[in-house]
């Protein structure tokens, strides 16, 4: 376009003269059917690939283990052997002869207790170590050594201390899951931007208000990273610990099945352990997403 350049001394043309008429366009709303179709397509894209992979793996497993004399049962046999366990998870014949639901719920109760304790203690210690240089200098080397001790190595010691299986298992969960919670919380506290501390100083928040209104929300993304690692570790630890302490629980169920050569039941139990572990991880991740809304964005 050949627009003549406006000289600076010239009067600026009145805006009304150049204003173009505005044409209003109403955006077309996509029909409802199309929206549904898109939703179905999006779900399919996510669901179909894992289903295909699972089907293929099951097929390979079936083919490999079908031969006579194979050490492990094929999926068809696993299903046949464990049909009763799958269909009725709620039976209770006394002792440890219970449905899988009861075994899982006993394990989950132990995890819930041990993990809650470690979350509370872990966040408290993490705040202390993150906030105080002296606490960090004193405690950090200790944490770094203790956190490398494998969960089961704590079990004999805790059995000696508590003289009972139940508190020992809970202690093992506690001691296993606390380290990532402490370390991540401390990093989160140390990384609180100076700006937020300045704001708190100008507003004159007292230490308690600073803790609740600045520290915890600011460190929440880090804290939840620690909590998520922690829940995974505690689920790892409970199965191993239960194998040794006995009683009701998914870990001992597996051990019991091995002792009675019910390989199919072991496979079923592993399947459940995996699913529950996955759900636990998702629950903590989801909780973290709700709690840290906003924080993670900036």
């Amino acid at each position: 376009m050949n627009m003549p350049a406006t000289k600076i001394e010239l009067e600026i043309a009145s805006p009304a003269a150049v204003a173009a008429p505005v044409v209003a366009l109403t955006p077309k709303r996509p029909p409802r059917r199309e929206a549904y179709a898109r939703m179905v397509r999006e779900t399919a894209v996510r669901v179909i690939p894992p289903l295909v992979v699972i089907a293929l793996l099951t097929l390979v497993w079936e083919l490999v283990c079908r031969r006579a004399g194979s050490a492990l049962p094929p999926p068809s046999k696993v299903f046949k052997d464990t049909k009763e366990l799958i269909l009725d998870p709620f039976f209770d014949h006394g002792g440890i002869d219970k449905g899988l639901f009861w075994h899982l719920s006993a394990s989950l109760q132990r995890v819930a207790l041990g993990y809650s304790l470690s979350a509370i203690a872990g966040i408290a210690l993490g705040v202390l170590v993150g906030q105080s240089v002296w606490a960090m200098r004193g405690l950090d080397p200790l944490f770094q050594v203790l956190r490398t001790i494998p969960p089961l190595a704590w079990l004999p010691l805790s059995l000696a201390a508590f003289r009972d299986g139940q508190p020992s298992a809970i202690f093992v969960i506690f001691i296993t899951s606390i380290w990532p919670i402490i370390i991540n919380t401390a990093v989160g506290i140390r990384n609180i931007p100076q700006d937020y501390r300045n704001v708190a100083a100008v507003v004159q928040l007292n230490p308690l208000e600073f803790f609740a209104k600045i520290m915890i929300p600011a460190a929440a993304p880090y804290i939840f990273t620690g909590l998520r690692i922690g829940i995974g570790l505690s689920w790892l630890a409970i199965v191993a610990a239960e194998m040794l302490i006995g009683g009701v629980g998914i870990g001992f169920f597996i051990w019991d099945a091995w002792n009675s050569s019910h390989i199919s039941e072991i496979i079923l139990a592993l399947f459940y352990v995996g699913i529950v572990g996955f759900v636990l991880d998702r629950v903590i991740a989801g909780l973290g997403k709700v709690v840290t809304r906003g924080t993670a964005l900036n």
């Binding site: 004159q204 600011a218 809304r293 964005l297």
Partner: protein, 264 residues
């Protein structure tokens, strides 16, 4: 001249190990009530350190700050700060960010309903009431800075400290916000101390401009009165001789007599 805020022989020395750096030397300044004072200087001259000392976020090595003849050396809402990068808490809404300070400052003197009304009043002053339930991540940079100003104003500070408040904004938003701050100053009569590195901004907004020499050991090099009547209009001032003279004076100070030398 009645001293409302008085900076009395402030020196600031940073010590790191055996090395000491003198950042500020012999800073003396008195500011009257209702005055708008800008501090201008090249980056690294310690003007932000000076603001932090006044805010109480850093302590002076020697000398002190007197507000209404009383020494202040810890941070407080009577010297509210508008930070350069807004520093809104991202997990709180706009309303909650302002409310945080209001709840602390007026905990005893205002009822719950009064505090709510006061927060809304201050959001209205900066034209941000419409976004009260938004989170900082959902509003623009200029809007964030408006909320930052509302948060500071809502604490009813004796001195409002602005730390390069428009530095991170684009030129058009900056001009708009400068006009807002001018209007607020006109309306509320606050005492304002602003750090800036923008010559036009300093001349347009201030009653006095404090020019600082380059660090280390930065001093106050010159103080310039800006005798322009208020309210000031950006467009009219573009040709105003007083404005242009003041601008010239500051430019000469910054680019001739105390030219910025890259740290050797």
């Amino acid at each position: 001249m009645t001293a409302y805020l008085k900076l009395d022989h402030i020196d600031k020395v940073f010590t790191r190990g055996a090395a000491t750096t003198e950042v500020l030397k012999e800073i003396n300044l008195t500011i009257e009530k209702g005055e708008y004072v800008s501090i201008i200087g090249h980056s690294g001259c310690g003007k932000s350190t000076l603001l932090n000392i006044i805010a109480g976020l850093t302590n002076a090595t020697t000398g002190g700050v007197l507000l209404e003849n009383r020494e202040v050396n810890s941070p407080g809402p009577d010297r509210a700060v508008v930070f350069q990068n807004h520093s809104l808490l991202p997990w709180l809404t706009v309303y909650e960010n302002v409310r945080l300070g209001v709840d602390k400052v007026f905990a005893r003197t205002k009822s719950r309903a009064e505090r709510d009304a006061w927060v809304m009043h201050n959001l209205n002053l900066v034209q941000m009431a419409h976004a009260k339930d938004k989170r900082p991540s959902e509003i623009s940079g200029g809007m964030k800075q408006r909320v930052g100003i509302a948060r500071a104003l809502a604490m009813e500070p004796k001195v409002l400290l602005l730390d390069e408040p428009f530095g991170a904004l684009d030129a058009l938003t900056r001009a708009h916000l400068q006009d807002s701050v001018m209007a607020l100053h006109q309306k509320l009569g606050n005492t304002i101390l602003m750090i800036t590195h923008d010559v036009d901004e300093a001349v347009l907004l201030s009653d006095r401009i404090v020019m600082m020499t380059n660090g280390p050991s930065a001093r106050i090099g010159e103080v310039l009165e800006v005798p322009l009547v208020r309210p000031r209009k950006r467009l009219e001032l573009a040709t105003n001789t007083t404005y242009l003279k003041c601008r010239q004076r500051v430019l000469e100070f910054l680019y001739e007599r105390h030219r910025f030398v890259e740290a050797a």
